[in-house]
């Protein structure tokens, strides 16, 4: 999420600043990368139920995805709306 905001990706609102409190940094992760990501915590799971665009099996909140070298090449898609 921070990477997106700091680099001007418009599709990420991140109203709460990355605290898993607002569900406005929703992304769809390309399936083949899903296994690279740390499993989601209960908070994120609950917040994903409340996103403005529909939750899918590859939905994550980008504030909870802490980028590591293993993410090299990761592709995510922003949803049609965040609010």
């Amino acid at each position: 999420m921070e990477g997106a905001v700091q680099n001007g990706v418009d599709g990420i609102v991140a109203e709460c600043g990355g605290n898993c409190q607002c569900a406005t940094c929703h992304v769809y992760v390309e399936e083949k990368f899903l296994s690279l990501l740390k499993p989601m915590a209960e908070d994120e799971d609950a917040m994903l139920e409340t996103t403005a665009s529909p939750r899918k099996s590859n939905s994550r909140l980008s504030c909870q995805l802490h980028v590591t070298p293993a993410f090299d090449g990761l592709v995510v898609h922003t949803p049609p709306t965040q609010q």
């Binding site: 700091q6 418009d10 600043g17 605290n19 139920e49």
Partner: protein, 393 residues
């Protein structure tokens, strides 16, 4: 000419960013009196103090954003508004002319009549507290509100001896129900914080605080979080009406058609309270900023966003939706023993606010329920087998 925004906090920043997002093409000047580019304040009393978050992570956008978006950052304090000439005077002696002026002047900390005490609002203040915390042993926090309790939690997390002094009979008394106050007192005490309620501070020395007539407590670092005063002087001196904030209408406009006011400094009618309200929150600043940006580009609509707030203390996330003022009934959903529950506030039978503790899904639903003025009876609210979503349809 163009838009001049006074105040480089979250609200001021958001007006500028939203104006460009709305396609506004004229010049934008963002006047702020801090040396930093606009940053978020919420982390300053949370992750920043314990070293989990650094300054650059708090910046709302990188410096290059302002250049790319043609937003001029002016580091200065505005000293006067000449409404006839549509001109703002800066402490540098320079002037900036405007077509539209947005006052996002924020608030400043209330201060105690004592020395040897620190306050937390700005990055510079947070950095000083963080530095002083490294050497401190006995930390005394004056004020059991959000800021005080977040600082207490951070200091305790760092292993300090922490005392919280609160004059009221309970914590966060202005904003939450007794059940929530009690829960937080219990959690802080379980972590080893000494919470002193109904306690008056009478003095501070270099190594002690004096409470009441006789009690002394060791204190090598004293931090006060005792509320804020809105920065309304500029508006008042320009002849604009001021109540408990700069008075604006439902479009966030002052009686001067060219001047809006938003965020912590502004008082406006609310769909969620009986009276005009002045709210101190990120949500309020951001949503009011977006509303004003739309109005400036010609899409005027009344401000009507559901208020919400949050505080993090240890691993407890308290999220609040709506405005509980004047509540006459509360019910609890979930078991506080499970560390996950929500408190529903009612006024004359109407759901007005929900506080959620480690129940983020309840919070998000509560924002929708309150926004829709949906009906959820107290019996439904406390019945966990009742699906709150059904109240929305």
């Amino acid at each position: 000419m163009g838009v001049v925004i006074i105040g480089g906090g979250q609200g001021g920043f958001q007006v500028a960013a939203s104006l460009r997002a709305e396609g506004y093409q004229e010049p934008i000047a963002l006047v702020g009196d801090e040396p930093n580019i606009p940053y978020q304040r919420p982390p300053l009393s949370k992750g920043f103090l314990v070293g989990k978050q650094e300054q650059r992570h708090a910046e709302l956008r990188p410096a290059a954003f302002y250049e790319a978006q043609r937003i001029t950052l002016v580091t200065a304090r505005a000293t006067a508004i000449d409404r006839q000439a549509r001109r703002v005077t800066l402490d540098s002696g320079e002037h900036i002319e405007y077509d539209t002026l947005v006052l996002a002047t924020g608030a400043r900390n209330r201060v105690l009549p004592h020395d040897n005490v620190l306050y937390l609002r700005t990055l510079a203040e947070a950095a000083e507290i963080r530095q002083r915390l490294t050497a401190a042993n006995d930390v005394v926090v004056i004020g059991g509100g959000f800021i005080g309790l977040e600082v207490a939690a951070a200091a305790r997390t760092l292993g300090k001896q922490v005392t919280v002094i609160e004059g009221q009979p309970r914590l966060m008394a202005r904003v939450v129900a007794p059940a929530v106050s009690e829960y937080f007192r219990g959690q802080h005490e379980a972590k080893g914080v000494d919470v002193l309620l109904n306690t008056q501070l009478t003095g501070i020395t270099e190594n002690e605080v004096l409470l009441g007539q006789r009690t002394r407590r060791p204190a090598d670092l004293v931090i006060a979080g005792i509320g804020v005063e809105p920065n309304v002087e500029l508006a008042r001196e320009a002849g604009l009406p001021v109540g408990n904030g700069i008075t604006v209408d439902k479009y966030l406009r002052t009686p001067d058609e060219q001047i809006f006011a938003i965020g912590d400094c502004a008082e406006c009618p609310s769909l969620f309270a009986e009276a005009c309200v002045r709210l101190e929150s990120v949500q309020n600043a951001v949503d009011q900023a977006a509303c004003v940006a739309k109005a400036i580009v010609g899409h005027r609509a009344p401000y009507g966003a559901v208020p919400w707030f949050w505080t993090d203390q240890y691993d407890i996330h308290l999220q609040m939706a709506g405005l509980p003022m004047g509540f006459d009934q509360v019910v609890t959903r979930g078991d506080p023993e499970s560390r996950k529950f929500s408190v529903f506030y009612y006024r004359a039978g109407k759901l007005t606010a929900v506080d959620s503790i480690n129940r983020p899904a309840d919070h998000m639903l509560a924002r929708k329920l309150i926004g829709a003025h949906a009906t959820v009876s107290p019996d439904q609210a406390k019945d966990e087998s009742f699906d709150l979503k059904t109240a929305l349809s």
